[in-house]
Amino acid sequence: MKKIGILIKKEVRDILRDKKTLIMMVVVPMLLYPLIIIGMSLAVSMFMQSQVIEAHIVEYNAQYEEEVNALERLYKEHEDEIDWQLEFQPGQKRIEEGSQPTEERVDTENASANRTGAVRMEMSREADGTLNVLLDYASTDEGANSTRRAVEQVLELYREELLTESLKQAGLDERALYPVVYESRDSATMSESFGMDIGGSIGLMLMVTILLGAVYPSIDATAGEKERGTLETLLTLPVTNFQMIFSKFISVSLFACVTAVLSVLSLGGSVLFLMFGLSDTVAEQFQGISFTAILPYIPLLLITLIATALLATALCMCFCVFAKSFKEANNYITPVLLVVMFASMTAMVPSIQLDYKTAMIPIVNVSLMVKQMISGQLQMSLVGITMVVNFGCSILIAWILAKLYDSETILFSDGFRSFRIFQKRSDIKKGTVPALGDVTISIVVVLLLTLYVGTVAAVRLGSLNGTAVNQLLIVTVPVLVVWYMKSDVRTLFSLKKPQKGTLIGSVILYLGTYCLLLALSAILMNLMPQSTADLETTFAPIVEAPLPALLAVTALMPAICEETLFRGLLFGSLRERLKSPFWAIVISGFVFGAFHMSLVKLLPTALLGMLFAFLVYRTGSIYPAMALHCLNNLGSMMSLKYPEEAGRILPFLVKPQLSVMEITGLLGVGAVLAALGFLLLRKKKE
């Protein structure tokens, strides 16, 4: 225990002497909040003042003096209800060359166009006596927008007045016009809506500062130690690895906590300054927020933030121990930062509240708690859960960290490089197998491309061409990755002849699995009928396409493109990197399933993906998987396009519901075939 104390003292001293850490720890929180909060409020108040001073001018064509007088009168009568002060001015006449001088138009170029906040009101009367009013304004001009809204309010009043008058003339009661009167009232208190608006972003800001406070000392104490070459010296000391990492963890957490406390203080200071130090317009906004109600929560908030700081530290250090230099550690920590930030950002979504479910998610619950605290709707039990969850998680991750730090392969490693694609191409060795990070990035890129580009293409070019574009995107990314990384395509994508005698086994195994999948789909269909129906409607338009095009796009292209991505790049890299064909098959299968973005199809597609990956593994070639993938899609497309003919050949393909007998039969046949195929493939391998 005493040794830990001495070690902590040393670590703290070491970190304190690092200028970068100090800047992140003290300067950032001290400056960030005042800058953001006060800066933004100043901007808002300046904007509001500029709005107040500005005259909201309404220009009108002069011959409708009478109507405008009525409008002006109504405006004066209802001045309190109307949001902005209006000023009615007659517009200047503009006589266009060649046009008749009697035509009266307001000069747009000289008058309203040059005046912000001005609206041109052009009136004309139709033959039946209806008054047409055209409000000419620029939506980009916020002042003109307000003017327009105010004029609309006045015009509405004018319309009502005229209406009532004509009703009276017709001898009707004006109540006949309004059989229903409604009014909505916002019951949210000022602090509730303030909490919703601002609380979420405050939670996010707190998380960001804590992370920034934890990141630098984390890197410094782990990867920095390796980079400076002091790790081996540290290991010669008469302390255990656990004492070492524990003291590091505590010291770094200490700094993250200091950052957390400084953040709260700086945040509070900024808010107080806003309340008392600034102009009334801003302070007005804070009226009604019961700060005395928030005050008792401050200690709770501090404890929770300390728990979060511990968690953030453990998380950062867990990733940093793998790195051997600052630069590498930065690479590892960036995705972590992004994930944590996205998690905290969920608090900014108004509908997400701290409840018994969200309180179980670490980090998210803290930013939600901050939001709820500011809006004064915090439940004590949820605060308890939040604290326990965050402390629990930090202990768990710290335990993992201690395990990691005890491993010689990590302590003496040259760092493990999960991203190779970010190197310059000239630095990449020939025959490099993409690392896990590279593969993940590729899949995410493909997913985003198909989501955005693919959707746009489907809307613009029709669903058939859209699918074709999607397939092209799916094949382009792996090809580019493999080119950039100079990978050995033949080995990685298994572009080889299948091993002798594996073809029959593959086909039988596929047929067996197909039966099993049919049975599984039937069961899932019973469980989730709605999503199955949705699925059919999504395919409806594409089935209408002519047969050759349909088959090319839905059978041939997926067989080539999807196999290249999932069995080529994904499975090929996983197999090399994970050293375990089993996990490579399972993971690539599930990614394939998840990629199809349908809950009901997830499991069947994943199993199909695993089957194809297994075939690549056993036959040593991607071609059988491609052929069977093509056959598979061909079958399902044909049964969708020609349900009657398909029904005659294989009735269970198109039946909406399968009986228990049929499902059992399919399962039985499928199991026998699959087992047979499995055996055939296994025998040949030996």
Binding site: K3, I6, L7, K9, K10, R13, D14, R17, D18, R228, G229, T230, L231, E232, T233, L235, T236, L237, P238, V239, T240, E408, T409, F412, G431, V433, D488, T491, E576, K579
Partner: protein
């Protein structure tokens, strides 16, 4: 003194087999047995990649052996059992044992003293003594990052001296140093030998090893291929210098390996 029997260390490495790379286990240190007594300087010689550093790291308690146990005895021949006790009895110095750049050497030694459980007075006395011996007063309060290479090397020796260990394990301590700094290290090792300490060190400088070492272990592929006093090794090979003996021994070893491989093929 220090004693090991049948020490092994297994590592994984990736090996290219045609187009595929496979992970494969290999022994970086293969059944090494050695002992070093008080008042001895032991040299560990061998080419790069022979397993010297891994062996010394295990002896220095930085790495855990896959097989075998490092036994360490104090001056009264009592075996030390606790890991922290063993570490405290060893002064380990290598090219990778750098010092915290943001500390001064005085602060660093103070930190070490506290960790070894010395009292304040003891720490101050010891620091003063070390500074005296190594002539370090001039830069004792500068940050370590500001020191020159020679000063840095003296600071590293000071680090080892602070705990007053029984055994010094030095991994290529004279590598890349100028003559003056290297001489300082050699002087330091001789001094420790006189004080009845045990010194184990690895080097590539055979002339240095020849006049400095009491006994020598030569290793290759993780195994001891020759051992004995420098004199005995020279006589064994009929050479006049350790350098020639080294060449003779390693050529002989390489021949043996070749013969073994051929034999293996025939069977």
């Amino acid at each position: 003194m220090i004693e090991v029997t049948g020490l092994c260390k297994k590592f994984e490495r990736s090996v290219k087999q045609g187009r595929k790379t496979k992970k494969e286990e290999f022994l970086a240190v293969d059944r090494v047995s050695l002992h070093a007594d008080a008042g001895e300087i032991i040299g560990i010689l061998g080419p790069n990649g022979a397993g010297k550093t891994t062996l010394l790291r295990m002896l220095g308690m930085l790495m855990t052996p896959t097989e075998g146990n490092v036994r360490i005895f104090n001056q009264s021949e009592k075996e030390l059992l606790e890991l922290t006790e063993k570490k405290a009895a060893i002064g380990y110095l290598s090219g990778n044992t750098k010092l915290y750049p943001r500390f001064s050497i005085r602060e660093y030694l103070g930190f070490l003293g506290e960790l070894y459980g010395f009292t304040k007075a003891e720490i101050e006395g010891r620091i003063a003594e070390i500074f005296q011996v190594l002539d370090m007063q001039g830069f004792a309060d500068n940050r370590i990052e500001k020191l020159s290479t020679g000063q840095m090397q003296r600071a590293s020796i000071a680090r080892c001296l602070m705990a007053d260990p029984e055994i010094y394990i030095l991994d290529e301590p004279t590598l890349g140093l100028d003559i003056l700094s290297a001489d300082a290290i050699i002087h330091f090792m001789k001094k420790q030998k006189e004080n009845g300490k045990t010194v184990l060190y690895s080097t590539h400088y055979l002339e240095e090893a020849q006049f400095l070492c009491d006994r020598i272990y030569m290793i290759q592929n993780g195994r001891i291929v020759a051992k004995g006093t420098p004199q005995a090794l020279m006589e064994q090979t009929g050479c006049s210098s350790l350098r020639d003996a080294f060449h003779a021994i390693y050529e002989n070893y390489a021949d043996n390996v070749r013969v073994q491989e051929k034999g293996g093929n025939r069977i």
